[in-house]
């Protein structure tokens, strides 16, 4: 706790006469530390006021108790305090960024995560490269979400007041951690060094400037649906409107989390130099778990909207998603499990465990108290229906979440139970999670083909014949192309699953495109538009449904890309000048290797001409850097990406005996599809967020083919 006030103490010691230049610089710089610390303390006080005053006002409003002041006015002051929290946390974030850019190494955090030669963009990313900074980012993003929520409170004043108060509770926790357990403005003890330790080289990559904020926008964003769900339950919100409000926030948050996860995958692919993008690392898993439960919520919430079913289930899905985001932050920041993401670890785990306990207790208490409000009638007409498919979709998503949580925590459980730490790596997930994933992929195609209420055998046959045919055609094509699922290592290397994934993907794509074509055909016949225009109009008429289909297409494209990893090849060779190495259809010729240097790092790189069919196609320059301040090496992989594969070339170093570069080349099939799938997925989500054309707008914009007769305008028969 004392650390938080160090900046303030030292700043207050400034006395006349003016100190010498070096001391003055120190005092000016530590002013920012004091400013930032004060800003955080003020933010904590405001958030606490928001929580207490908001709770009191809402209690008075709920019970109708007489009060000395108007509870509505009190609630409004609490809301304004919530807005002010954002301003105060922004000031603290500004102080930290200012300190990074002014190389204020009197602040321990800046000294540990930055240095003078660090480029500007990466100085910015120093904000989240360490624990204290990333917690400040959490608090700032939470403040930002809260700011938007409180500004739009007129949508539903009471519901937003509940949500704002709950968010203030979350904010109090993070600000308390920042003020007392992980202060970002703690001052460096001892002589202030002339330069800092620098940023972890792995983080000095353009995507690292956007991946963590994107991921955090996803993590933090789930606080909002959580606050709405808990608030709606506390106030026994009448009707399902809160679901509509929550759904939009959830989709936006889900979009950020999705983008964050994929950016992280791309970063791992481009920076770590092992040719892969997903290692089932605990921290990767931690980001994936709330994604799975969030996805389950986005599906099951439709059951509540359409049928008023699964109210308790949906509430608990949101609660679980929020708790999993906290667990993810705990895993990332507290070092609970071994992870390659060891950028920031400390002992704040206890704080998070206690907070998660409090959140869980509040959720259980509220649920038990208000569960009668969530009673709903459950009626299904058939096992084979859209409703059932949503239930199974939720089942599979949550089982996948459990499997990943189980695999992530099993080393800890094993150590606790039998005192023996084990590894739960890719083979475990390949055998357990991938089959579940393929089942989920299958449901992605099957679900939309099933009608609500009940499906007749005739409709099933009509909708499923074509996908089944394409499934088997794909299997045959893959077998002819050389996929051998019967080999001994087919499971561990993924060949068998790849074959199934390709076949199911094609079947699902066929099913989804059939849906588009069927709908567009009807519109085309009704309006006379061509099939492209009809598809566009179809999508605009029901953006949520067809946006969802586009998201499914994106998921399928991603799966195809992931399945390609079963067929990657690699080779490694030491190359003298004009030596060649071959991989797949490519021949790589070394035409030079040299060294370079700047203020931040020294680098070695090779110039490789790449030939295909005897013709030079392009040049690649894989590089290896050694950062001056830390002495840590860093690969800069050269990647040439085309739809069929990526040529991935790593400069592994030089042979100390010959001084010649050692080059590793990997041919990664279909990796580009993963990133393309993300683009489709993002597009689909944006489409689903756009309001559908209302019937009145649609009718105005569809050109009249013939003037309607008078009785038709009056609602009669023409």
């Amino acid at each position: 706790m004392l650390k938080a006030y160090d900046g303030l103490r030292i700043a207050s010691q400034a006395k006349f006469p003016a100190p010498p230049l070096r001391a003055r610089i120190f005092l000016e710089s530590s002013f920012m530390a004091a400013f930032g610390s004060f800003a955080l303390l003020i933010a904590l006080a405001l958030a606490a006021y928001n929580l207490l005053a908001g709770s009191l006002a809402l209690r008075w409003i709920a019970t109708g108790q007489p009060a000395a002041i108007s509870p509505e006015r009190l609630a409004d002051t609490a809301r304004r305090a919530g807005i002010a929290v954002f301003i105060a946390v922004t000031a603290a974030a500004f102080a930290l960024i200012w300190s990074v850019f002014t190389n204020d190494f009197s602040i321990t955090y800046i000294m540990e995560h930055s240095n003078r030669a660090l480029p500007g963009a990466y100085k910015f990313s120093a904000l989240w490269s360490g624990q204290e900074g990333s917690l400040l980012l959490w608090a700032w993003l939470l403040g930002m979400y809260g700011f938007v929520l409180r500004l739009t409170h007129k949508t539903d004043v009471k519901l937003y007041a509940y949500a704002g108060t709950i968010m203030a509770g979350i904010q109090v926790f993070f600000l308390a951690v920042l003020c007392f357990a992980a202060p970002p403005f703690a001052l460096y003890q001892g002589a202030i060094p002339d330069d800092g330790n620098g940023l972890n080289p792995l983080l000095q990559y353009p995507e690292m400037v956007i991946h963590p904020p994107m991921l955090y926008l996803g993590y933090v964003g789930f606080s909002v649906p959580f606050a709405f769900a808990l608030g709606a339950l506390m106030m026994r919100y009448p009707g399902e409107k809160w679901i509509k409000v929550t759904r939009v926030w959830t989709m936006v948050t889900w979009l950020f989390l999705t983008a964050g996860i994929f950016l992280g995958m791309h970063w791992a692919y481009a920076v770590l130099g092992w040719g892969g993008y997903w290692g089932w690392d605990p921290v990767e898993n931690a980001s994936f778990m709330p994604w799975l439960t969030g996805t389950a919520f986005l599906h099951s919430v439709m059951m509540q909207e359409k049928k008023g079913m699964m109210k308790s289930w949906n509430v608990w899905l949101i609660f679980s998603t929020f708790l999993l985001t906290l667990l993810g932050t705990l895993l990332t920041r507290a070092g609970l499990v071994s992870s390659v993401h060891a950028f920031a670890q400390s002992s704040i785990g206890t704080w998070f465990v206690v907070f998660m306990g409090i959140v869980l207790a509040v959720c259980i208490f509220t649920y038990v108290l208000q569960r009668s409000h969530l009673k709903s009638e459950h009626h299904l007409e058939s096992l084979v229906s859209r409703e059932s498919s949503f239930l199974f979709n939720n089942l599979v998503l949550l089982t996948a979440c459990f499997v990943i949580l189980w695999g992530t925590l099993f080393p800890v459980i094993s150590e606790y139970v039998v005192g023996n730490k084990v590894t739960v790596g890719a083979p475990f997930y390949n055998r357990v999670a991938i089959p579940i994933g393929i089942f989920l992929l299958l449901l992605t195609g099957v679900g939309p083909l099933l009608p609500w209420r009940a499906a007749s055998f005739k409709s099933i046959r009509r909708n499923f014949v074509l996908p089944v045919i394409t499934f088997w055609v794909t299997v045959i094509v893959c077998l002819v192309a050389g996929v051998r699922p019967w080999q001994d290592t087919a499971i561990d290397q993924g060949n068998f699953y790849a074959l199934v994934a390709f076949a199911v993907s094609v079947a699902v794509l066929t099913a989804i495109f059939s849906e588009f074509i069927r709908g567009a055909g009807v519109i085309s016949r009704q309006t006379g538009k061509n099939i492209v225009e009809a598809t566009w109009l179809l999508t605009r008429r029901n953006t949520r449904r067809y946006g969802g289909y586009i998201i499914h297409i994106g998921v399928v494209i991603v799966v195809i890309g992931l399945a390609g990893s079963a067929f990657d090849r690699n080779t490694e060779s030491e190359l003298a000048l004009h030596d060649k190495m071959t991989i797949g259809p490519y021949t790589l010729e070394c035409v030079g290797f040299t060294q370079d240097s700047n203020l931040n790092y020294n680098s070695e790189y090779a110039l490789l001409d790449v030939y295909k069919g005897g013709k030079k196609q392009f040049q690649m320059t894989p590089e290896k850097r050694v950062y001056l301040i830390t002495g840590q090496p860093q690969t800069m992989v050269a990647i040439h990406s085309i739809p069929s594969w990526d040529l991935y070339v790593v400069y592994e170093g030089t042979n100390p005996d010959t001084g010649q570069p050692i080059i590793k080349a990997i041919l990664n099939p279909l990796v580009g599809w993963i990133w393309a799938g993300l683009v489709v997925l993002v597009f689909g989500t944006l489409v689903a967020l756009v309001p559908s054309l209302s019937p009145s707008t649609a009718s105005l914009r569809v050109p009249a083919r013939a003037a309607p007769s008078e009785p038709a305008l009056k609602g009669g028969r023409p």
Partner: protein, 163 residues
């Protein structure tokens, strides 16, 4: 003889194809080497499978792969090789939990949870669907054909598809 429904025949064909795929197998030294190096982890702390560890400057993977190759050439069984790695580097060298002792729980739990959840969902769907189906059946049987057709039309136009 009653013809089997299309979806049952399709399922049968799929299961048969999968069974055929698994019943065909071949073992050679190369595939054994690949199999084993995918069941071990690199011990340098990179959290990668030994057979796939190719990050720059790994101090351990080359030596461990050489050790594995030598063990296979020496005629050791899979179990002996894995045991020797565990003896040398500890249980964390295995890429996945074993199938005995407490480790078995790691494998059983996901499938047990999946099976329980699947069973629970099926029972839930059946419980939710029984009463309604009977009611609908009773109602529609009493309707006159025109009304039934009109209801069917409404159902087709409002119920089919859509999120």
């Amino acid at each position: 003889m009653k013809r089997l429904p299309f979806w049952i025949k399709t399922t049968q064909a799929a299961l048969l194809a999968i069974a055929v795929c698994f019943s065909l197998g071949a073992t050679d030294a190369g595939s054994r080497y690949t199999d084993l190096n995918h069941r071990l982890m690199c011990t340098c702390g990179c959290a990668q499978i030994l057979g796939e560890c190719n990050h720059v400057g790994c101090p351990n993977s080359a030596g461990e792969l050489g050790e594995l190759r030598a063990d296979i050439q020496g005629g050791a069984s899979d179990k002996a090789i894995l045991d020797s790695f565990v003896g040398k580097y500890g249980a964390i060298v295995l890429a996945a939990p074993t199938t005995h002792g407490f480790d078995l729980v790691a494998w059983i739990a996901p499938f047990a949870v999946f099976a329980a959840a699947m069973l629970g969902t099926i029972l839930l769907v059946r419980r939710w669907s029984v009463g309604k189906t009977q009611t609908v059946a009773a109602d529609t049987s009493k309707m006159d054909p025109v009304e039934r057709e009109r209801r069917e039309q409404i159902r087709r136009e409002t119920g089919e598809g859509g999120f």
